[in-house]
């Protein structure tokens, strides 16, 4: 009453300035739970992300290998031309020293790739010198260097006349590059020296190209074309090698209905076979009767039987509910355009686990009964069996990771839009390893509904 005459709003402000409630016991404990709940999956997500990253990186690495194999033709050819240009530069020596043609030929024998250019340069030099040397030099490379002049070699083995043809072919471009071939030695040498400063590469290139051109027109050409076609196919396939999708999967164990959902991805190894993986968050409930522990008298009153305290509690059934992350890895075989079958294994990480145990409990009770003959009320003690449900404190699966299931499925794939497909896939998951040895039967089956793109 004393503090009246104050304006209401001011009074309210004063009242709340230092207002505090009294602490409610248990708040700290619930705060700790709240704190943990904020990021419950964090450590597991790291594990899962690591596994996915590993899978993706393996795929990516393999894919790169494939592309490299595909592109091998052109880089190798480039390397070869590089070698030949290198050899062309080397060929300056013999060009300048035509007398050492025999020595150079010995060097030619050592290397098959270099031989062609060296041979040609020696041809040029020898053609400038004299015809006898020219022949000696030219016939030899034709027989010595098989890879570059394989056709020429074959024809050389057939008859001598064809060798001459080959020689002429080889010499033709060289003659065009070297303007005045045979006036005299000195002139030819000086001219070769002058040419050797810049055009040897040109010379060798041209002289190389000349014998190769006819080869390309036949089998080489076809081979190159077929390779090109392969490359195109691989490129086309590379665009659609990956499939991604979302899936939901109602499943059933032998006692419970469950539900799961997640992301899936598939990598097409070939037209028929693909490798699939993904991540699924699933809830799995299962119950199991522990038959061996079933009591002899499950109901009713057992008179005058005194059991020991150890016998008075027996486990009847286990009912568990698990939330887990399932990472499958499987091989999918495309049977027809629409139907496929899949088999694989799953990595299984249990996030949370709830267990209820049902016990059969035998409790001593006092009973009253009236003797029908005398009408006397009698009291006697008896043992009564009850069923008790208790939440189990132990979580044998929680936080553990297992190589959990064998997965088998068959499915139908139906295209709905341009790149979207619906897949309906009945499956069965059979627990393996540690999961199979649990006192729960986690075998489950269901249907996956998947939207892939």
């Amino acid at each position: 009453m004393e503090q009246s005459n104050k304006e209401l709003i001011k009074e309210i402000a004063d009242l709340f300035e230092d207002y505090e409630e009294s602490y409610v016991p248990g708040e700290w404990e619930s705060f700790l739970k709240h704190k943990k709940k904020k990021y419950p999956f964090f450590p597991n997500w790291i594990k899962v992300a690591a596994v996915l990253f590993l899978i993706v990186s393996v795929f990516a690495y393999n894919r790169r290998d494939l592309l490299q194999q595909d592109g091998k033709g052109s880089p190798a050819a480039q390397q070869q031309t590089a070698n030949t240009t290198g050899a062309a530069k080397k060929s300056n020596g013999p060009a300048e020293k035509p007398a050492g043609a025999a020595q150079q030929l010995a060097a030619v024998r050592k290397s098959t790739t270099v031989s062609s250019s060296k041979g040609n340069s020696s041809i040029i030099s020898s053609s400038a010198l004299n015809s006898s040397q020219f022949k000696a030099v030219n016939t030899n490379p034709a027989t010595v260097s098989p890879p570059a002049f394989s056709t020429a070699e074959k024809t050389a083995a057939a008859d001598q006349g064809s060798v001459v043809v080959a020689e002429n072919k080889i010499n033709a471009p060289a003659a065009t590059i070297v303007p005045a071939p045979s006036v005299n030695q000195a002139l030819a040498q000086t001219q070769l020296k002058a040419d050797a400063a810049v055009p040897p590469a040109q010379l060798t290139n041209d002289s190389l190209m000349a014998p190769k051109k006819p080869k390309l027109s036949t089998s080489e050409f076809l081979l190159a074309e077929s390779k090109k076609a392969d490359r195109k196919e691989i490129k086309k396939a590379a665009v659609s090698k990956w499939d991604f999708g979302l899936q939901v999967m109602p499943t059933a164990t032998h006692t419970n209905m469950n539900f799961g959902g997640g992301l899936v991805t598939a990598y097409h190894i070939s037209d028929k076979i693909s490798l699939s993986s993904g991540i699924t968050l699933m809830q799995l409930g299962s119950g199991e009767n522990v038959s061996s522990a079933a009591p002899a008298a499950a109901s009713g009153v057992a008179y005058s039987i005194v059991k020991s305290s150890a016998e008075s509690r027996q486990l009847l059934a286990v009912d568990a509910n698990i939330k887990a992350i399932d990472i499958p890895l499987g091989l999918v075989y495309k049977v027809t355009k629409h139907y496929y079958t899949s088999a694989g294994i799953s990595y299984f990480n249990v996030l949370s686990e709830k267990r209820n145990n049902t016990y059969s409990e035998t409790v001593p009770v006092n009973k009253m009964s009236r003797d029908p003959s005398t009408g006397e009320v009698m009291s006697f003690s008896a043992l009564e069996t009850q069923q008790v449900d208790e939440e189990a404190t132990d979580r044998p699966l929680k936080g553990n990771s297992y190589l959990g299931f064998f997965n088998f499925s068959i499915g139908r794939r139906q295209n709905i839009f341009k790149q979207y497909n619906i897949q309906i896939e009945p499956f069965i998951k059979v627990p393996i390893g540690k999961l199979s040895s649990q006192d729960l039967n986690l075998m489950n089956s269901g249907i996956k509904f998947q939207l892939s793109f």
Binding site: M1, Q3, N5, E11, F31
Partner: protein, 192 residues
């Protein structure tokens, strides 16, 4: 007083040693105070508790870098007002997240009640009930201006509303509170 001093010394030592065990002490000591703030903003006690817990989480993340002069009284004041600021801001975040609270403002008839004198002792529980009668946004503006001491400019930027709206909401909130208070007094006096 000595007991309190010892506790604050322990808190200061715990903060400088980055000892996580000090969190429980701080939580238990300040929970009531923060709950007092939070319940002024939310009718639902569970939401108020959630806001308090979120505030503690924010505080526990950064409190180890809390700067203070080392003076015990000074620390008590600053630390308390720091926690209070965190709670108010967390509450506002929650209100902002609930967009309908910001967009929907119940209109009520304005009855001019200029000055109402308090005739009886006020009890926080009763006033909280009166505050619960106000629309969320009006209540928030009232709390921020009258109790927390923010200016209309600050309130406007905090709630993403025009300054003029902040003024209007405050006036309406006050009017409504006066009306409600008068009504409640009449009921307790038995005049109605």
């Amino acid at each position: 007083m000595d007991k309190k001093d010892t506790m604050f010394r322990e808190i200061i030592a715990g903060l400088s040693a980055r000892d996580e065990r000090i969190q429980e002490r701080i939580y238990v000591h300040y929970w009531g105070y923060l709950m007092g703030i939070s319940t002024r903003y939310f009718k639902d006690r569970n939401i108020a508790r959630e806001v308090v817990n979120d505030s503690f989480m924010k505080a526990f993340k950064t409190m180890y870098d809390f700067r203070h002069s080392g003076d015990l009284l000074d620390f008590q004041k600053i630390f308390k007002s720091w926690l209070s600021t965190i709670t108010v801001r967390t509450a506002l975040d929650k209100i902002r997240a609930n967009k309908t609270a910001l967009t929907y403002v119940e209109e009520y008839e304005e009855v001019q009640t200029g000055h109402v004198e308090v005739e009886h002792k006020l009890y926080a529980e009763d006033i909280l009930k009166l505050l619960d009668e106000l629309p969320d946004l009006h209540r928030a503006v009232f709390n921020l201006y009258e109790i927390e001491g923010f200016s209309h400019d600050e309130i406007a930027s905090m709630l993403n509303i025009p300054v003029s709206s902040s003024r209007t909401y405050l006036t309406r909130a006050k009017q409504k509170l006066r009306e409600l208070y008068k009504k409640s007094i009449k009921i307790t006096d038995g005049t109605v």
